[in-house]
Amino acid sequence: MNSYCARYSKRGQLKIQEMAFVLVAIMVFFGIVILVFFSAYLSGMKNDVNTLAEDEARQIVRKIASSPELTWADKATCGSGACIDVDKALIMKERKSYADFWNLDYLRIDRIYPTTGTGECTLGGYPNCRTIILVNKTDSFGATSSAYVSLCRWETANGGYVKCEIGRIYASGNGIK
């Protein structure tokens, strides 16, 4: 009776051990799967954080266009509020006292469409030009953030009308961090 009991218990113990090993292996497997999944998920979150930071910078850059010193005041032609009055921008470019106004190292406005014209814009040269550099304090201004804006002006041809074009504003410096 005693020897029978001993044999039975050894078998049972072996089976229990086997089962325990299998269960531990299952748990380790699940642990690894979860680790891989979360590492992939966290890397995705890092990308999201970068995208959000970029988006925030774009919004700040676009806000520059809606400051009273640059904005196109007529809301009937500019519903978005992100329209730059090109004449204001060209006058600001000439006034060096505005260089520290936005606390930026670099501020440039590009005319994207129409694609006619090249080079930097002057008061008399618009619209046959491409860029208006408002602030350029240093050569090493780093990476710029940019946003699409409308570039509006009063066109005197055909009795006079408001002409809005597609532009992009680029900025870099402490003011957009």
């Binding site: 988006d55 500019c78 699409y148 809005c164």
Partner: protein, 178 residues
């Protein structure tokens, strides 16, 4: 007799352990399933501030098409609405509203979004659709569509803007693929 009781106890503990592992595994699978499903349905991730800003500036662009008198040039949103409502109507310059819309839109898209092998973008799709909510269904009619490059992949960013066009509205969407 004592050994038997001990064995029984060990087996009971084992059954408990197995139950815990099975329950934990099921919870993990359910949790992962819910998590993957919810992350798939998060469309907001596809929205792009850059595209939204582009679309709002695009709608304000003053075209060269004057439909009433010289100097009253339509902006892009007006031209899209006009091309949808009166496709053959001529601008004062002689071209039809839809031709003017097509050429201007393609020019702006080409200048704003560089697509191709040397670019990060593989293609783009622009769509403007007239939408009207009726009591039982929504009427959708396409006003204009512009497609360039390859935009069939899953990696894209986009957004849409809309403006009123009674009795409905015109929804313009833009998607850039990479």
């Amino acid at each position: 007799m004592r050994k038997r009781i001990r064995n029984k106890k060990g087996q009971e503990e084992m059954v408990g352990f197995v139950l815990i592992v099975v329950v934990v595994a099921i919870i993990m699978v359910v949790f992962l399933g819910i998590f993957i499903r919810s992350s798939k349905s998060q469309d907001y991730k596809l929205q792009s501030v850059d595209v939204h800003q582009f679309l709002t500036s695009l709608m304000e662009y003053t075209t060269d098409c004057s439909l009433t008198y010289e100097g009253d040039y339509a902006d892009m949103s007006e031209l899209i609405a006009e091309c949808y409502a009166n496709p053959g109507k001529k601008c004062l310059s002689g071209v039809t509203d839809c031709q003017a819309l097509n050429s201007t839109l393609k020019g702006i898209l080409d200048a704003s979004w560089i697509v191709g092998e040397n670019s990060a973008y593989t293609g783009y799709v622009f769509n403007s659709t007239y939408q009207e909510n009726l009591t039982s269904f929504i009427v959708k009619k396409q006003a204009i569509s512009v497609l360039k490059g390859n935009c069939t992949g899953k990696s894209f960013r986009g957004d849409e803007v809309f403006f009123s066009n009674p009795p409905g509205k015109i929804v313009s969407s833009f998607r850039v693929c990479f």
